[in-house]
Subunit: 250 residues, 2 copies
């Protein structure tokens, strides 16, 4: 039977700057008697990665630029928050209502450059990791060193979407795996050659993990077991980023 | 431990027009010794729903309009296929490269109106169900009648996205559940009031199920067990459709 299991790693508690996440995750697994296995996928919430890397900012220490003040007024947002968002962005894609959709320095198109005020402490915001693939690789390497197991790692965040209501979690960084599953050129049972069969499996794994994480449940790490992941030593979330020239919605 | 399990229902085989899917799914579960439980979620691939409802078209029986011919030439597509796509659409949103992004009569923004040539037989295409929420309700009701169990049902399809490469599966119809999880107004552990916390859980469940379905594995039904779904008798995929007036990308 094709089967997938997801379980949440609980009891990780508050993560502070400088924390070694690989170690923390292994400790969490141990305390729940979870033994990591080769080919397990670990989905790690961006928020704890950002905290461990010290990627948090106190809004009262931010001096908003004139542009940030103007945008903040238009969008009914905190000028200091807008300043932080602009600092994380290479381009503003759309504004409207209270929404500020940007392209981040990494190339993600998302609301507020992924800058987020929840679960980080009042008056503070968390930024996305500077190089989320590297963050994922560090976690993967530390787990390999501690347990001898070769896992895939996905760092996830909740992104809004065009056209549809609600966020879904997506991958913002990966390590040890391919982000997509490309079946173009293969045939279905009727002999039809598949033309559009590229699935964003890293995003689907992140979405699945969100069902276990929730937003308020204190489960920042989820183990996904049973997925036949395609290993790739230098896998990168960049596989998932549509180049601007091929994008009809930028 | 927070835990989620997904298992694929195999051996369903080719589905023909007029098939009773609830019965077929129950038979499939029985043959794998899966006992359905209250609160299980069933994710059913759109393709078998469309086939059961006779929503397939032979392209050689389609007479393309002048508009379809023109668009087909621009986009290097089959004129008959474009004619079918236009018939399923209330509006063309973008064209470019070989892509034809439309808004369907249901209100979905997606490529090709969900019209799809794979896994349906050479020279044929499958259309989305006419009323996918109703299709989901029929499956749910039939399962309830046959097993006495109250399950949630999601009909899923693979949709492309703006900005990111690859498809993810999303819900195109639901029954017996809420499509979103809305935690706005509740507080995180630091006392911060969550402002953007609306998760498209039906889409996340569909995405998770795709990891088990695959495109070529003959697993059109996946059971998701362990998710604390919010029941809603008149749940609808319309909860997930962003009104055009609030959409920055239409």
């Amino acid at each position: 039977m094709k089967r997938l299991e997801l379980f949440g790693v609980q009891g990780i508690g508050e993560v502070h700057a400088g924390a070694r996440l690989g170690q923390i995750i292994c400790d969490g697994c141990l305390s729940q008697a979870i033994e990591l296995a080769d080919n397990d996928l670990l989905v790690v919430a961006q928020k704890i990665v950002s905290k461990a890397e010290g990627r948090t900012v106190r809004l009262d220490e931010v001096k908003p630029s004139e542009r940030a003040r103007q945008l903040a007024q238009e969008l009914d947002k905190d000028p200091a928050l807008v300043e932080v968002i602009l600092g994380e962005s290479r381009k503003v894609i759309r504004t409207g209502g209270r929404a500020l959709i940007v392209e981040t320095h990494h190339g993600f198109v998302c609301a507020n450059a992924g800058v987020d005020q929840s679960n980080v402490g009042l008056g503070q915001v968390a930024l996305l990791p500077r190089d989320p693939d590297r963050s994922a690789r560090q976690i993967r390497d530390e787990i390999q060193r501690l347990t001898g197991k070769s896992v895939g790692v996905i760092i996830s965040d909740s992104f809004g979407r065009a056209w549809r209501i609600g966020t879904v979690d997506v991958a913002v960084g990966i390590a040890g795996m391919k982000a997509i599953k490309d079946e173009r050129g293969s045939q279905d049972h009727h002999g039809y050659e598949l033309k559009a069969a590229v699935a964003a499996v890293a995003d689907e794994v992140a979405a699945a993990a969100e069902l276990v994480m929730g937003k308020r449940d204190g489960v920042p790490v989820v183990i996904v077991r049973g997925y036949q992941l395609e290993k790739k030593e230098d896998g990168s979330v960049r596989e998932l980023l549509r180049p601007e020239a091929e994008d009809l919605f930028r």
